[in-house]
């Protein structure tokens, strides 16, 4: 059995950035959920608060959640700006090095985008095979990823901008109220993105990318030719990989 040819589709930098995003985002979601809905998420902070409550003179019965939430708040306010800084640095890096590929499908005519989106939804949700023309024109990311990326950017701007304003600016009560509302809206959007993202990466069609993200960033060339043919062709044209099918 000969060794299968592989190509790198996720660089080391991308994988590190993604892992950091994953850690920061999870931390922020967990600590933020506590504030959004303590009645459902008190269990997140309760184990943290149990040993700490007696140390500050509160009973474990009533103080555990209070102290736990206080710790969660501190983590949220510390992690948020760090995550924001990471996003800004990573965003600048992607723009400067022109490595943003998520919007490539948006260069296609709108009719073609809609056709691709419907075909992909039918494929993911109903298991229908992709039409030939759609399959042959898939980029590194598909059009659904482009749309979801827009949702994510809007969510991050809302959640990051309002969060930074609440921490660093001396807001009036009315301004603070608006920021809190925007923070919530941004959070809901980011969760919608996350659910769609998890569904997509855990789908059998994409599980190869998930494995690549958490290993060496490489996938089989054959698989890539089938799932992102246009991207592979463009890389072949640039001479980064051997001509597809070779």
């Amino acid at each position: 059995m000969g060794e299968e040819k592989e190509i790198e589709i996720l660089s080391m930098g991308t994988r590190i950035a993604h892992t950091l995003q994953l850690i920061f985002f999870t931390l922020l979601v967990l600590t933020g959920l506590v504030f959004l809905s303590i009645e459902l998420f008190a269990w997140v902070v309760y184990p943290i608060g149990v040993p700490l409550a007696p140390m500050v003179g509160l009973s474990q019965e009533t103080g555990a959640v209070t102290i736990g939430v206080e710790v969660a708040r501190a983590i949220h306010r510390f992690t948020g700006p760090l995550w924001g800084a990471l996003l800004i640095v990573y965003g600048i890096y992607l723009v400067v090095t022109r490595k943003i590929l998520a919007f490539e499908p948006l260069k296609k005519p709108i009719k073609q985008q809609i056709r691709e989106a419907i075909a992909l939804l039918n494929h993911y949700v109903l298991g229908k095979p992709l039409p030939k023309d759609v399959e042959e024109n898939l980029e590194r990311h598909n059009v659904l990823v482009s749309y979801l990326t827009i949702v994510l950017i809007v969510a991050f701007i809302l959640v990051g901008g309002s969060g930074a304003a609440m921490i660093y600016l001396n807001l009036t009560p009315d301004q603070h109220r608006i920021m809190l509302l925007l923070h919530d809206i941004g959070f809901y959007l980011s969760i919608l993105f996350t659910l769609a993202h998890i569904f997509a990466v855990a789908h059998p069609a994409n599980i190869t990318i998930l494995k690549a993200m958490f290993t060496n960033g490489r996938v089989a060339l054959k698989w890539a030719e089938k799932h992102m043919p246009r991207y592979i062709r463009s890389r072949a044209v640039r001479g980064e990989i051997e001509t597809p099918g070779e």
Partner: protein, 299 residues
């Protein structure tokens, strides 16, 4: 936004404030300060009698002096003659209104704001984490941040009322401005005042605060038309907070349903993929590799 059980708006206690009787002596303000052991706040000169200028972490009750002008008219030979516009002071002893369904208590993420069976809304300072969500949620601008980072406000003298006493401010008033009674009685008296031509604030307010507050204010309608709009919000609602609550009530179950749907779709997708691979391997007579999945484009 915590789900809380509030006492019914028709039960518990209330205070009816007959502002027309208030002489603006500020005895209530001082009594509140003294009973609750609050340090005197730093005051400053200002063009009004109100001092301090509003509620503070150490000033849970402040008499707000409103200046209004009223025509002074005399009757002469059957005709009304306007003499002058006279300035009048209308003092309003102001503190937390103890909403029937306190939005501050709903907003507190650690449940530090307790509602007593009598309806007193109390911040438990030892549990407060200083997030300020209560202040954001309050349409009456009541909770204030103290120098220790925690939020403070009137407690309805819960320690007194649970021991059969009236709140300190009520007890000390020399003009009997306050009637401390059951909510049922206070509503009855307020309705009677309303029927006699006075304006009443606090009986039929927005559902955001539970439709009613436990400090009900009555004032002659000619003064009230000028003073109430300055003292009380037109709508006792914080729109952004109300929207947050509405969003939450939709989003939390909505996201739960979407998560379940995503999980179910994922399971179906894997099941279908497995069936397809088994069929494919039967056709070709040998097992297919791990990369035999359907197309779909990069994530």
């Amino acid at each position: 936004m915590v789900k809380m059980e509030f006492p019914s708006k028709d039960s518990g206690i209330a205070v009816l404030v007959n502002i027309d009787s208030c002489i603006g002596c500020r005895a209530c303000q001082v009594a509140c300060q003294t009973w609750n052991g609050r340090a005197p706040p730093q005051t400053s000169f200002s063009p009004t009698f109100t001092n301090p200028q509003g509620l503070m972490a150490n000033a849970w009750k402040v008499v707000m002096f409103h200046e209004i002008t009223r025509e002074k008219v005399i009757s002469f030979e059957g005709a009304a003659i306007r003499i002058t516009d006279a300035v009048e002071m209308v003092p309003i002893p102001y503190n937390c209104l103890h909403c029937a369904a306190a939005p501050c208590a709903r907003a507190c993420p650690v449940g530090a704001i307790k509602v007593s069976p009598e309806g007193a809304v109390v911040i438990e300072a030892s549990e407060c984490i200083g997030c300020g969500y209560c202040a954001d949620a309050c349409p009456y601008d009541v909770p204030k941040r103290g120098s220790d980072g925690k939020y403070y406000k009137c407690t309805f003298c819960v320690d007194r009322i649970q021991n059969g006493k009236a709140p300190a401010c009520v007890e000390v008033c020399p003009a009997n401005v306050f009637t401390f009674t059951s909510m049922e009685n206070a509503v009855k008296m307020a309705r009677e005042m309303e029927a006699s031509g006075k304006k009443v604030y606090g009986l039929d307010v927005d559902s955001y605060v539970g439709g009613r507050v436990r400090w009900i204010f009555a004032l002659s309608s000619d003064k009230a038309s000028k003073v109430f709009p300055k003292q009380f919000p037109e709508k006792a609602v914080v729109q952004t907070e109300s929207l947050r609550e509405a969003l939450k009530s939709i989003s939390i179950p909505g996201l739960g349903i979407i998560s379940a749907a995503v999980f179910a779709l994922g399971v179906v997708a894997w099941r279908m993929d497995r069936i397809r691979r088994i069929r494919g391997s039967k056709k070709s007579g040998k097992g297919s590799g791990g990369n035999g999945k359907g197309g779909g484009g990069g994530r």
